[in-house]
């Protein structure tokens, strides 16, 4: 089956990222496919490259990147939700006169239309928030 995930909780504020990663791992182990993960609302903080947990704690962003690397899962971040919360790519940073940025590939900034399309293209869309 084709799965999609909608993640709307931030690391440290919500258990949603942990629950979503755990679910994703099991889905993939069973031979299903995950078309994409869409990060919305507070979930956009999952993409922050500056997230620096203590060494004995999981870096959630790296866990998402690993999921992408192993299984090709696309990691889409709502651009409007991300910009207002201070999460942006190098090109968006330039457009807004910023020198710094904190979102890099494989995370991609995209519009809300992507979420609707994900729901329509997948057999199942599961929300973790």
């Amino acid at each position: 089956m084709e799965y999609g995930l909608l993640v709307m909780g931030a690391p440290y504020r919500s258990a949603a990222p942990h629950s979503a990663l755990r679910f994703a791992q099991s889905v993939l182990n069973k031979g299903h496919h995950i078309k994409g993960v869409f990060f919305y609302q507070e979930g956009v903080h999952n993409a922050s490259q500056l997230m620096t947990p203590p060494q004995d704690e999981l870096n959630i962003r790296e866990a998402w990147v690993e999921l992408h690397r192993q299984y090709g899962v696309s990691l889409d971040v709502c651009i409007a939700a991300a910009l207002r919360r201070g999460v942006m790519s190098e090109s968006e940073a330039k457009r807004h006169g910023q020198v710094n940025f904190n979102l890099e590939s494989p995370f991609e900034l995209t519009g809300l239309g992507q979420l609707l399309e994900l729901q329509q293209r997948c057999d199942r869309l599961i929300t973790f928030a």
């Binding site: 909608l6 809300l112 609707l116 729901q119």
Partner: protein
């Protein structure tokens, strides 16, 4: 009654206390702009988004009422609220914006079964 790609967006958060209400409405607006048939259901704290006497908030806080007022322009004409939810807040229908359809809360199970896509905010 189900149209192709009919979509239910459920709003459960109050105005001002967070951006959850606004970002839920944004999904409904984008879906409608893409030509999908969208219904909105307001549950719990979400019904407070429909109070018509809302004014601009504390300095710098943006109101969501203008977005609510724009829904019809986006062809989002089905705005649903359970009667019992209003009663829980001691709110009457005339305190809400125009265009709200009340339904008994016992209709919710059937309502949720009826849509192709449901998103809960």
């Amino acid at each position: 009654m189900t149209e192709p790609n009919e979509r239910l967006v459920v709003i459960r958060h109050a105005p001002y206390s967070s951006n959850e209400l606004r970002e839920g409405l944004d999904v409904a607006l984008v879906a409608a702009a893409f030509g999908q048939a969208v219904s909105l259901l307001f549950l719990g704290q979400g019904v407070l988004a429909l109070l018509k006497e809302q004014k601009a908030g504390a300095p710098g806080q943006k109101s969501t009422l203008p977005t609510i007022d724009m829904l019809e322009m986006y062809d989002i004409e089905t705005i649903l609220v359970p009667t019992e939810t209003l009663q829980n807040f001691n709110i009457t229908a005339d305190q809400l914006v125009d265009g709200v359809t009340l339904l008994p809360i016992s209709d919710l199970p059937d309502l949720f079964q009826r849509y192709d896509y449901v998103l809960n905010f």
